[in-house]
């Protein structure tokens, strides 16, 4: 279990201090017992059309396997600047990963989607294993993934 606090959107906070508000969000990703090695996950935001916006968290330490997180890889262009400092260990089959981040308030209820791509060695890659809109209403509502993710939920504070 990892509890990590990262100030995202820091630049915005500094340039327009009066308007920006940070919200703490916890993302919980529970994996099914798919019975393989540790899964690589990409947690990222896209706009309503699925166009990549920003990286939230990458699980898995070997960047050479990141290309298997296909949609994220395509969106981020595998640009190291996109995920620098936002990586951790891969997630074992059946375990739950919690990531807590601070998101800019303007991102919520603004049509953005949270997505998870997943990949496991010698098994299939799952693009958009999870796709869920980032809304106040959606907070705390668990949804099922279509690949290795059994359930996914985010909680806004």
């Amino acid at each position: 279990m990892k509890k990590i606090l990262f100030a995202l959107g820091l630049a915005a906070v500094m340039t327009v201090p009066g308007y920006a508000q940070a919200r703490e969000v916890t993302f919980s990703t529970q994996l099914s017992n798919y019975g393989g090695d540790g899964a690589y996950l990409a947690l990222y935001l896209t706009d309503a059309d699925g166009k990549y916006h920003e990286t939230l968290w990458i699980s898995g330490e070997k960047s050479k396997y990141y290309k298997h997180l296909r949609d994220w890889a395509r969106g981020s262009g595998l640009n190291q600047a996109e995920y620098d400092g936002l990586t951790g260990a891969s997630v074992t089959s059946g375990r739950t990963q919690n990531v807590t981040l601070e998101l800019d308030d303007v991102m919520i209820d603004a049509g953005y989607q949270v997505r998870v791509d997943s990949a496991v060695e010698d098994m299939r890659d799952n693009r958009s294993d999870v796709v869920v809109p980032l809304t106040t209403e959606g907070s705390g509502k668990s949804i099922a993934g279509r690949g290795y993710v059994q359930s996914f939920v985010y909680n806004l504070k």
Binding site: G36, R70, G77, L78, D122, R124, D125, R146
Partner: protein
Amino acid sequence: MLRKLHGWPGLVAALLLLVLATTGVVLSVAPAIERASATIPATGQISVADLAERVVAHYPGTEQIQRSLSGEVIVYYSRDGQPGADLVNPLTGEGIALYQPSAFLRWVKNLHRSFLLDDAGRMVAGGLAVMMLLLCLSGMFLLARRIGGWKAVLKPIAGSGSSRIHAELARFAVIGLLLSALTGSYMSAVRFGLLPEAAAAEPSFPAEVSGGTPAPVNSLIALKNVDASELRELVFPYPDDPSDVYSLNTTQGSGFVDQATGELLQYQPRSAGNQFQHWMIRLHTGEGLWWLGLILGVAALTVPALSFTGIQVWWRRRSTSACLGEGASTEMADVVILVGSEGNTTWGFARDLQKKLNQAGKKVHCAPMNDLAKRYPQASVLFILTSTYGDGDAPSSASQFMTRFEHFQADDGLGFVVLGFGDRQFPKFCQYSLDVDAALSSKGLPQMDFVTRIDRGSAIQFREWGEAIGERMGISLALAHNPAPATTTEFELVERVDYGVAVNAPTSILRFRPVQDRRNLWQVLSFRSRLHLPSFEAGDLFGVAPPEDNTARLYSLASSASDGQLEICVRKQTNGLCSGYLHSLKPGDRITGFIQQNPGFRPAGGATSIILVGAGAGIGPLAGFIRKNTDLSPMHLYWGGRNPQSDFLYQPELGGYLDDHRLTGLNTAFSRSADKAYVQDAIMADETALRQLIEKGAQVLVCGGRDMASGVSQVFDSILKPSHMDVDELRAEGRYLEDVY
């Protein structure tokens, strides 16, 4: 140094290597199994476009098509929102089975590469691979030294026991093991960043696509241009996303394909570094190279046996080298013993000599030959006991001897005796002891006695030598070192057939069977048969000591364990203590004895013609070979006796073997008959036929007395002269074997 480099890492790594090797063996089979079940279209038969079309026809929700290097094609699809994966037939696109990678193989793979311990385990596995590399290299050099140079590497290996098994197995497996170790080390080094990782071809996503209406997959030109056999992976675009593209990954490179125009975008060929890395991995895993996988697997299979025999050899060397102490100092000693030993066997003899000399009141200094002092002021006798390594080289504890000896000052009154230890099967039997003897003589040291060469650690020869030397020194030297305290078994004489009494050469064929004793709990638990015979083959040796003497004599075995009995053929020697004892046995009498293996004296088998030569009781093992020759290899026996009416050993049996073709030809010579012929004459009479057989690769096995054996080798030399070959040459090729006494 080389030996230490081979021994210590080997010992430390043995256990962990067992895990690596065993898991490696399991994994090595996977490529062959995958290959066996895969349907593989001929190159040029179908393109990636054809393949994709056929797959999509059966799997409308296809997301990804993968082809493994073994030729398996896997489709990942989604159907009604549920993901799935199937193995498909590339020719039809039809599903064959659910694709479910084996959890067991995954576990084995993780055990193999990381001992299930992730990065820490991977580091250990990588370290082991490097250690294995060292073991292979140092082992190759040791082996080359042992058998006399790189050129001799493919020749038969002499010697016996675990060290021979170790050498034979290693020679067989070393290339495979070297490849596995090298590629494994490389993979590990890359993984941990010790070697640069070749950049994978990662084309960046095309910034612009045509965005037109998607065309059918089989019409896309970029996919038509790639043969299905080159496909690694084809990822389909999202349905209903015109801005998406196909990602194509082939053995040559990767790129993207526009789903409307079929144009290949951003294509990047694989770099040379990437290809190299890819091949290193394939050479390690055998992926797509099922035959290599199996070869590597078989090589890895030898690792448990190599570890076991290696530890045995190491242990024996270690336990025999435990030092008894040097004894008297170099200044005080009146007798000096210097020991040249590779495997430490010679030390056992030296220690016995030291002990007996001490008992005789001598002040003895005992040291390795490498510790030769500048001078031994008080000494009157310098004993040198040495083995020979490889092709006449110095054993390790004597490697510096010749150099040091240049500075040696011989004091007046110092005489020397050299005792060589070796194995007659080696072409340069005890060569190093002869060299040392010559070096000492040339320095003007008085030679107290000629070099005696002890064959295969013979306790009798050692005792006889002690008697002779003791007499010279005016002391009694009752040497009694038996280098192989073998486990003895009790046997009961069940049958004896007597020959030759009328011609003053009483010779008996004695047949024993092991005594049925009460089995202990262990034997009951391990389901050992009540009649447990130790394992042996005809040609091995049976050691037996007469009751009033504890030095065992060795007799060649005429039967194999599978015959259910132990058979020897013994000529009663005049005043022979042991042969007399054996001849006095009556059926039902019991003796104890042990088996000593003699793997260097065996017929080659197969289609090779075998020429067996013997005289008198020497027929024993030869008859055993013929009895075992159920594969009907051509065997020709030349045997000499005294009189056909009296000592024609095995006559009835040989007749039967001729009838059922286990024996191809029988030629006898009798010295006390009308023709007065010896076995050499019988060989000479068949000169042309024998020369032709040998030219075609026949093997000669000679068993009998030493005089007969030297006569026979002279005859063969003269027979072979026209074809410009000689016995020494055959010997070096393992085609002229002797068992003489």
